[in-house]
């Protein structure tokens, strides 16, 4: 093969450019969120901006190694990496440091490591490896079960920490299975289940029952052209009604009180800007007060003076919204759209199923983070504590997102070498 080629040969500079732009913009906002006249130097390792610079620097070293490694490395070692990650996820339940009621972190002296962030890489590699087998189709039940198991095992372990946010991110990988051919019915059932869940909570069980019956009727009508329309319609009706009836149990017994609060807030069932709703209200005030053009770099008051919690990690978008205004929102969302669309385009041009599955996986994970994170800061989604990729402060997430993305960039650069 073309051994003597440069490390940077064939890489997609567009993705790299977007990546760097995001890092820069993200870092500026972390700097601003921490900025306070008269305090210590923000460039030292005592301050978040300084530390983030360190994470960015070390990421670049990682990325260099990722690009240096042969593309074959990832396909060869994917199951091994997956196993390693599962091992780390089990380990963290035993020796992990408990922060805020969850064992999600390894305490490494000066630094903490969040294995669920890195597990994304392992799960994606394993899923890609499994789905890239020749002649594998997702019509078969055992294939479906195995594929779901690869995703489900880390979800189970993460729920034990517990970390609902990360679990949801892993669950979103189901969308990759859809691209790989799983029947559309599964997606429809998933969508309906979520809708019914929301309708039941927002209104009441009886209304949700009526909605279910309407859906079943619609289903029966759509199936009318087929021979047997009664049975599947009836089956789905019973299933739907059963689900609606069990929403109360799911909601009251499986969710924790703070989850319930967050959901109730979004559904408008409680209105409490001092208690449960304080963070969301302050977050909306920060973003809303930015106006069209924002208050200007370093001139935000809401985030800087700590009205917004977690202002450099999960709520970094507040600083963007406040200081850069709607224009900043537009730029941020625009950057993500460019990144996501580019990922799908590149994934579709892969010759190997492995690379394609992996590419879709990266896009799905980044999308889920992006959407949930911004949506929660403006009250479109309940507060789910997951970071905004490349923007939020934090070493584990920055490293894992960078690795995730650059493995794909490497795979994409390597695509010509694959003859399969």
């Amino acid at each position: 093969m073309r051994k003597n080629k440069s490390v940077f040969a064939n890489i997609d500079w567009f993705l790299v450019f977007i990546y760097l732009l995001m890092l820069l913009f993200g870092w500026l906002n972390i700097y601003s969120a921490n900025y306070d006249e008269g305090t210590f130097d923000l460039f030292t390792m005592q301050a978040e901006p300084g530390k983030q610079l360190f994470w960015i620097g070390t990421s670049c070293i990682w990325l260099f190694f990722i690009l240096l490694l042969d593309g074959k490395f990832y396909t060869t070692f994917s199951y091994f990496i997956y196993a390693l990650m599962i091992f780390l996820l089990i380990g963290v339940l035993i020796v992990g440091k408990e922060i805020g009621g969850a064992r999600s972190w390894y305490d490494l002296g000066n630094f903490s490591l969040q294995p669920s962030e890195f597990a994304k890489v392992g799960v994606l590699l394993a899923l890609s490896k499994y789905l890239s087998q020749l002649n594998l189709t997702l019509d078969k039940l055992d294939t479906q079960i195995k594929a779901l198991a690869i995703i489900g095992l880390p979800i189970l372990l993460i729920l034990l920490q517990p970390d609902a946010g990360s679990a949801i991110v892993f669950a979103s990988l189901f969308l990759v299975l859809f691209r790989e051919g799983i029947h559309v019915v599964y997606l429809a059932i998933l969508g309906l289940a979520i809708s019914l869940f929301v309708v039941t909570l927002k209104f009441e069980v009886n209304i949700a029952m009526i909605v279910t019956i309407l859906f079943a009727g619609l289903f029966a009508y759509l199936l009318k052209k087929g021979k047997n329309s009664i049975k599947p319609a009836l089956f789905s009706l019973i299933l739907g009604l059963g689900f609606v009836q069990s929403v109360g149990y799911l909601y009251n017994d499986l969710l924790r009180p703070h989850h319930r609060n967050r959901i109730d807030l979004i559904l408008g069932k409680i209105d409490d800007i001092h208690g449960a709703g304080y963070n969301l209200n302050q977050s909306k005030i920060a973003i809303g007060s930015g106006g069209v053009f924002g208050k200007g770099f370093l001139d935000g008051t809401q985030t800087k003076f700590n009205f917004v919690p977690e202002q450099s990690t999960d709520f970094i978008f507040c600083t963007i919204g406040e200081e850069w205004g709607f224009v900043g929102s537009l730029i941020t969302i625009g950057l993500f759209m460019a990144l996501l669309f580019r990922l799908i385009i590149l994934a579709e041009r892969q010759r190997s199923a492995f690379s394609r599955v992996y590419g879709y996986g990266v896009a799905t994970i980044l999308f889920t983070h992006f959407f949930i994170n911004i949506a929660m800061t403006i009250g479109v989604m309940p507060v789910i504590g997951i970071p905004l990729p490349f923007f939020s402060y934090g070493g584990s997430s920055l490293w894992s997102f960078s690795i995730l993305l650059f493995i794909f960039i490497k795979l994409d650069a390597y695509r010509m070498d694959i003859l399969r």
Binding site: F178, S289, Q302, M337, E348
Partner: protein
């Protein structure tokens, strides 16, 4: 490659990404561009307007003695919405109030506004404030506001100075300068010169973080305004004289008003019973106020400005002057007095036993009633109808500043009453009354009432031989003399100057004459002119009245003394007037026996004798 048949499913991803982005953008557009309420909330979050209270102006007496000054006090303010994780007990412990009061105050603050800061606890001590300041960070939503509280080093002149309290609701509604619990002059000079004394409040906009810690000024202080201190005021009061007058009036009800005739400046203004103005500052105001409000002797009532009594015999001077002006009497005119004046068997004005007939000077010296009944009748009957005659008489009386508001710089006042034609027409029917019907006016009775300050002013007009300057209490504001024409232009009476000579001589004889009604109060070295009076009091013992001025030529002080239930004018009011004059003109007292008698006199219990 087998699954490439699903390549069309990429469209689902494009759709998912775009709609999600659209949902976010629409929501963001709504909260960032369309909805303005978040911008306001943000400002409320971080910008706190701190009022900078100006120092209220000082008040001095005419010799520069400090009468009113300021002392530091701290108010504990609260913004209910910002209260977080409050350790109520710890706070109660520091400010020394109990939980019930705490809840009550907080409720009151919430009722005003939960977003805006308002007063929680007023005027807490310096020690408590210092203790609280250290731990204030533990109580978000609370802060200390420094302000000033009045202090009265001379402990005197409470009615003149008035007091400062929180701004009343009706002012709060119509004047948006004031905020809840701001200081406001409620009475006295504090009230009439409120705008001068208060200064202008400043505002400082501070930016602060979620813990209520200040992060410096907002927009580099662009919107801040400085406080402008209140202006100092110099009163015309002579505080030494004022305090002496208060001593003389101790245990007596009534008032003393002393005026400098050449300027109209009020030298002292006493209403008794009086109180220490320091009783109405800080947190003791409310109990003290309630106690005095309920007191039967009404110490809060400013008798010197608000009480309206019949002028009694002192009014004979005015009638004498009108008689001279109208040419119905002259110096030598004599009237017979048969222990009074008789019109019919039913109508008689009695008089004390004296030699008869008397001429004008003697009538003043001995206060003959019959003399003035005849004079008054002649004045009224000089004209074809009683109405014309009466109206002419009335206009002369009004020219002495009686029967109308003085329109001066005092916070309070009463017009008194010189009955109008309508008044008598209503009472007796039109044409149903003649001079004899209202003959009591001749000796300052009937429906005629005047306030003590009007009496003093009337005396000043006589002292000036025909003119007066509107009595006023403030000489200088901010070191500058008032150049207000209200006080600098003389008001002329309707009596020619020449007519005063005889009347003034008569007033002198009140002290010097063999039968003078105030001869026991005479002063050795000072030519003093006066007139006794007794106002009939249907509720109890008569009121003792005296007006006087001195020296006879170039008078420097004119005063009116009222002693309620003091009986004859010569008993209490005349000696008090004489002591006041001597004190003011010479600074010492020669007749210490008389002084002791007055100082020890106690008329407060005569109230029991009423009915």
């Amino acid at each position: 490659m087998s699954r490439n048949k699903f390549t069309h499913r990429r469209v689902f991803f494009y759709f998912l990404f775009s709609t999600s982005a659209l949902v976010l953008l629409v929501t963001l557009f709504s909260i960032q561009v369309i909805n303005d309420s978040y911008k306001l909330s943000a400002e409320n979050n971080v910008i706190k307007a701190v009022t900078i209270y100006p120092e209220r102006g000082y008040i001095f007496d005419r010799d520069g003695v400090l009468l009113v000054t300021n002392q530091r006090a701290y108010d504990l303010m609260v913004t209910p919405r910002q209260i977080k994780n409050l350790d109520t007990l710890a706070l109660c412990d520091i400010i020394k109030i109990n939980k019930e009061h705490f809840d009550k105050y907080l409720k009151r603050a919430k009722r005003y506004s939960s977003r805006k800061a308002s007063l929680f606890l007023k005027e807490i001590s310096k020690q408590t404030a210092a203790q609280l300041q250290e731990r204030l960070y533990e109580f978000p939503g609370f802060y200390l506001q420094e302000r000033t509280m009045r202090e009265y080093p001379e402990k005197s002149a409470a009615h003149i100075l008035g007091y400062v309290s929180q701004v009343p609701d009706y002012i709060l509604k119509k004047d948006n300068y004031y905020k809840l619990k701001d200081n406001y002059g409620i009475s006295g000079v504090e009230s009439s010169y409120e705008k001068v004394l208060r200064g202008v409040q400043g505002i400082k906009y501070l930016v602060r973080d979620v813990w209520n810690k200040s992060k410096g000024s907002f927009a580099d202080g662009k919107y801040d305004s400085l406080a402008v201190n209140g202006k100092d005021i110099e009163l015309s009061i002579d505080i030494q004289l004022q305090k002496y007058a208060e001593q003389l009036m101790l245990n007596k009800k009534g008032s003393i008003v002393a005026i400098e005739p050449s300027t109209g400046e009020i030298l002292s203004l006493v209403s008794s019973p009086y109180f220490d103005p320091n009783a109405l500052i800080g947190r003791s105001r409310s109990p003290n106020f309630n106690r005095m409000y309920k007191d039967d002797n009404k110490p809060l009532f400013d008798r010197s400005l608000l009480a309206e009594y019949p002028p009694g015999s002192t009014f004979k001077l005015v009638n004498a002057l009108i008689g001279l002006q109208e040419d119905v009497i002259f110096d030598g005119t004599r009237f017979k007095c048969d222990e009074g004046w008789r019109f019919s068997s039913k109508l008689k004005i009695g008089c004390h036993v004296h030699r008869s007939p008397l001429n004008l000077i003697e009538s003043i010296e001995q206060s003959c009633n019959a003399y003035y009944c005849n004079t008054f009748r002649r004045i009224v009957e000089k004209y074809p109808t009683a109405e014309e005659g009466y109206e002419n008489w009335r206009n002369h009386v009004l020219s002495f500043g009686l029967g109308k508001f003085l329109n001066n710089d005092l916070y309070n006042g009463r017009p008194g009453r010189v009955p109008t034609l309508d008044f008598y027409n209503r009472q007796y029917g039109k044409g149903g009354w003649k001079a004899p019907t209202v003959i009591s006016l001749a000796i300052g009775q009937d429906a005629l009432v005047v306030s003590p300050i009007q009496m003093a002013n009337m005396c000043a007009a006589i002292a000036n031989r025909g003119h007066y300057y509107t009595p006023h209490i403030v000489r200088k504001v901010d070191g500058l003399s008032l150049n207000d024409s209200t006080y600098t232009i003389a008001k002329l009476t309707s009596i020619d100057k020449k007519h005063f000579t005889t009347v003034v001589n008569g007033m002198e004889r009140v002290f010097t004459g063999k039968h003078g009604t105030a001869k026991t109060a005479r002063l050795k070295d000072i030519e003093i002119c006066g007139k006794t009076g007794t106002a009939e009091n249907p509720h109890g013992a008569d009121h003792s009245i005296f007006i006087a001025f001195a020296p006879k030529d170039n008078p420097q002080i004119a005063l009116a003394v009222y002693v309620e239930n003091g009986g004859w004018g010569s008993t209490w009011a005349a000696p008090i007037a004489s002591l006041m004059i001597e004190k003011y003109l010479t600074g010492k007292i020669s007749n210490t026996k008389q002084e002791a008698f007055i100082l020890n006199g106690n008329l407060m219990n005569t109230e029991d004798a009423k009915e």
